[in-house]
């Protein structure tokens, strides 16, 4: 314990990229995530969002939780935990997964990387050590290690990312398909690159040992200088992910293990993630409850909305009629989308009503006075932002 700084115990941890991020965080806009000092934004949230949509930008994902799960039973153990069939994840492939309680309520979502036949990496937003230990119960040959602090990672997102990685010398990176993993020698170590991200755009995540973190940052920023590279923070991430209709904890879902009130958590069906549940695979946590829910239908359904006008429907209730007599849901995230030029939102709506007429009651402030409007919502079936380049292999240079 450092007693020369009496507040040392209360200070946030610094990411291996902090020495570089600090210089560029001109607005001193820091927040926290999992104990790490973490940028809300660096210069301007909307500018950073546009770097993701127009050029390229890096997001420090060191605070994201990372676990190595290895051993002969690793696959079986993960398969018992998550709803997707882990056996189907090929070598050097990544899969987006969710895991639930026995009641089928969602604990968290994350990605599983298959690094060998008996070795995986699981990443997720919140610490998961205790649940992983519970899930490993009864499996003989499985080791779970929290490697969060042993791996530094940057999410590198935007239309020019592939061009920058090519310039960085990552040979053949353009042949990596979405969810592929590649390894490259890097300053005597290994740089792992996955074609993954949380922005709905072309992008990669770069994984490196912390000792080489600054080398990675410097090389990447040098290569990216002519391609508009810029760090981005939580605010821009949240804008991009909403356009891609990706869910966020504490926005779209309340983690089941942190939910006090009955059914104030969600199920994957309610979050429109039914496609992640594989009932054909061996037993997994929540299977029976989810089968039952599949039969009777989810109570709520997460719905994508295009809303009239330009006032974000943050915190709005959704009604069945313009007179607001029948409340049928609530907005979880909302914003004006600069790329799509639409007033977009995700909302939890009682399933029987999703195909009927939908109205949002929007409150907004104008020079200290509150105003409200009731406006029509249109249900969208596809994510708001789906550029072809996000799926193209090889991706375009910009």
């Amino acid at each position: 314990m450092n007693i020369s700084d009496p507040y040392a115990g209360e200070r946030l941890k610094l990411s291996p990229f902090y020495p570089r991020a600090e210089v560029l965080n001109i607005r001193e806009a820091w927040a926290a995530w999992n104990g790490y000092k973490f940028a809300e934004y660096y210069y301007d949230a909307e500018y950073e969002y546009f770097c993701v949509r127009n050029a390229c930008a890096t997001y420090d994902i060191c605070p994201m939780q990372k676990y190595e799960i290895s051993g002969a039973d690793a696959e079986a153990m993960l398969n018992r935990m998550v709803t997707r069939d882990v056996a189907k994840i090929g070598l050097n492939r990544v899969a987006y997964c969710v895991w639930c309680t026995d009641e089928g309520r969602m604990i968290d979502d994350g990605t599983i990387f298959r690094l060998a036949s008996d070795k995986f990496m699981l990443t997720c937003g919140s610490p998961c050590t205790a649940w992983l230990a519970k899930s490993a119960f009864g499996f003989d040959d499985v080791t779970v290690t929290d490697v969060t602090d042993d791996i530094a990672a940057l999410s590198f997102q935007g239309p020019t990312t592939c061009a920058v990685l090519k310039k960085l010398g990552l040979e053949g990176i353009e042949t990596a398909k979405p969810f592929d993993i590649r390894h490259f020698p890097f300053h005597g170590g290994t740089l792992m690159v996955s074609r993954t991200g949380f922005t709905g755009d072309l992008g990669y995540e770069l994984w490196i040992e912390p000792g080489l973190a600054l080398e990675l940052w410097d090389d990447l920023y040098r290569a990216g200088d002519d391609y508009g590279i810029q760090p981005f923070g939580e605010a821009a991430t949240n804008m991009a992910r909403l356009e891609a209709a990706f869910i966020m904890p504490a926005m779209e879902f309340n983690e089941a293990l942190r939910t006090v009130n009955f059914e104030h958590d969600q199920t994957p069906f309610e979050l429109s993630l039914g496609w992640l549940i594989d009932f054909k695979k061996p037993h997994f946590s929540g299977r029976r409850a989810l089968l039952e829910e599949k039969r009777r239908g989810p109570k709520y359904t997460l719905t994508k909305l295009d809303i009239e006008g330009n006032k974000p429907a943050e915190g709005s209730y959704i009604y069945k009629d313009k007179r607001c007599t029948k409340e049928i849901g609530y907005v979880t995230s909302a914003m004006w989308s600069p790329a799509v030029k639409a007033n977009i939102a995700l909302a939890m709506i009682e399933t029987p009503h999703i195909k009927g007429s939908l109205w949002a009651e929007i409150y907004y402030e104008k020079e200290l006075r509150q105003y409200s409007r009731v406006v029509r919502c249109t249900r969208k079936t596809k994510p708001f932002w789906t550029p072809d380049r996000a799926r193209a292999t090889p991706p375009p240079d910009y």
């Binding site: 330009n310 790329a339 030029k341």
Partner: protein, 539 residues
């Protein structure tokens, strides 16, 4: 001979917007373009390999969200990216940085004048109030003040209501504002000359007026009333250049089954029994249609492609006298690297904004004096942007292109016609101005495209190279645009309409003129309206 419901002359962004809405309403439309490319003055052209210039218009703020959204231009590939700070260069070696962040912007103003830093709040507030009123009229057809039609009376009442909401004092201020010069208006707020000059510069852009000419304050407002995503006064760049806007609208036209023909210049509008019935193309082909919509400026429409004898008395004269003086040139420069400016830190964000070679109010006024005497300015006002600092698609990586908007440059020179030599000499005046603040700039030049009003008129078709299709002075605005009595997009010949910037609300890449005209056409045809109302509902 073929038959269409509507022929639109000119594939500029307003013509395309008009076509998009008419096609959406089920009309069989064709857009005729004289050039082999579409876009008019909202165009991206690869004149030098690897560099894509926005040859004419270069930034965007007026584009109405309602239209962008309604025509689904994002799906058709359009993305507008706001740009950040600007640097204004003063005559006495001062630098005024406009930072994107409010706090930083305030501190910078304070460095120049404590007084002006405070006054900026009042200035922005007043300007926002004025813009809010004008913004409400953008996507509405101006009322005819002499008409007793219920619709015109209702519209006049709407305007009166908006006016009264301002309060008595503001009504007087508003009227005064419309008739003042930008420089005089700014006197009331600021003391620092560079701040005044920087704020006054939007008041002369595209206009044959000086900063001290009455009426220039409205033009200032015209340039700050746009927005990017609701941030009023902000400007943005279209990813892929301004042509991306036209391309996206053309995508919408095609999706609704509309036809666009390039290399199809219109020789003449056919009029029979005082009704427009079609056009004759330059190649002699005749196309017939129920209506004809001209996206050409008013002067060109009535004095070039229409027969004087087909027009009611007085229209030809009105069109001939339509004030459409060219005042600006454009110099597009391909650069082998990012230029460095003396006294400007290598701030990556400032570099992603613009440069204003502003000088001072006096320099700007003297620049205007040259124009009056039929010369380009000896010491021009130049507004520059380096789009490639933002947009990875318009120049090779590590290389750049710089857009330079120049005032003043006359359409006719006192010493005889424009020649390539004179054009290059004009370009040289711009390079030497920039080089004064960026030593070594000249060495970075890979290619240049110099456009005087002469080139703009001949290539784009804008009379005298006037970027607004007619000056934005109060005698030519609102229900007076283009002429009194013809402010509702219908022209003196039946079945003939106008949809370009010569109509309300005037110049700028806004798509509003085209959309408003489409609304009127659909009304006359008794078709369901496809044109949205503006989606501001409270600002």
């Amino acid at each position: 001979m073929s038959n269409y419901d509507a022929i639109i002359i000119g594939a500029g962004h307003n013509g395309l917007t008009n076509a998009a809405y008419l096609a959406k309403a089920g009309l069989n439309v064709v857009v005729l373009e004289k050039n082999d490319y579409i876009g008019g003055a909202a165009v991206t052209r690869e004149i030098h390999e690897g560099w894509k210039y926005s040859s004419c218009s270069y930034v965007c703020s007026m584009m109405r969200q309602a239209i962008h959204r309604d025509l689904d231009l994002a799906r058709h590939g359009l993305i507008l990216v706001p740009y950040l700070g600007t640097v204004n260069f003063g005559d006495r070696d001062e630098r005024l940085f406009s930072y994107h962040d409010e706090e930083a912007a305030h501190l910078e103003l304070k460095r120049h004048s404590r007084h002006d830093a405070d006054a900026m709040h009042r200035f922005q507030t007043d300007l926002t109030r004025y813009s809010q009123l004008i913004r409400k009229t953008l996507m509405r057809t101006p009322p005819d003040p002499s008409s007793f039609k219920p619709r015109d009376i209702m519209e006049l009442l709407f305007l009166a209501r908006q006016f009264w909401k301002l309060g008595e004092k503001e009504i007087y201020e508003y009227v005064r504002f419309f008739t003042m010069s930008a420089a005089e208006y700014l006197e009331d707020y600021f003391e620092n000359d560079l701040i005044k000059a920087a704020m006054a510069s939007p008041g002369i852009i595209g206009t044959a007026l000086g900063v001290y000419s009455p009426g220039s304050s409205y033009i200032l407002l015209h340039h700050v009333m746009g927005d990017v995503d609701g941030s009023i006064g902000a400007w943005g760049l279209a990813r892929g250049g301004m042509g991306a806007i036209s391309k996206a609208i053309a995508g919408s036209v095609a999706e609704s089954g509309g036809e666009i023909r390039t290399n199809a210049g219109v020789e003449k509008v056919l009029v029979e029994n005082r009704k427009a019935v079609g056009v004759v193309l330059e190649n002699g082909d005749e196309l017939r249609a129920n209506i004809v919509v001209s996206n050409l400026d008013a002067k060109r429409t009535f004095t070039k492609v229409m027969d004087k004898h087909d027009l009611p008395d007085g229209i030809y004269e009105k069109a001939s006298n339509f004030k459409i003086r060219g005042s600006s040139g454009k110099v597009n420069i391909a650069l082998s690297g990012m230029p460095k400016f003396t006294g400007v830190p290598e701030n990556r964000y400032l570099a992603r904004g613009g440069q204003g070679f502003t000088g001072s109010l006096e320099t700007m006024e003297r620049a205007y004096d040259c124009w009056k005497h039929g010369r380009w300015s000896d010491d021009p006002f130049v507004e520059s942007v380096i789009p490639s600092a933002w947009d990875p698609t318009v120049a090779p990586p590590g290389q750049h292109w710089m857009s330079n908007f120049v005032q003043y440059c006359p359409p006719q020179l006192a010493d005889g016609p424009w020649t390539p030599q004179k054009r290059d000499a004009f370009g040289e005046s711009v390079i030497s101005k920039i080089e004064r603040y960026s030593p070594g700039f000249r060495d970075l030049i890979v290619h240049m495209e110099v456009r005087t009003p002469h080139e703009i008129e001949n290539e784009v078709g804008l009379t005298e190279g006037n970027i607004f299709q007619g000056e934005l002075t109060i005698d030519q605005l609102f229900f007076n645009r283009p002429f009194p009595g013809y402010g509702q997009y219908r022209m003196p010949v039946r079945n003939m309409y106008m949809c370009g910037s010569s109509t309300h609300p005037g110049g700028g890449v806004s798509s509003v003129c085209g959309a408003n005209a489409a609304r009127e056409i659909l009304l006359d045809l008794r078709r369901t309206n496809t044109v949205p109302e503006d989606d501001f509902y409270d600002e």
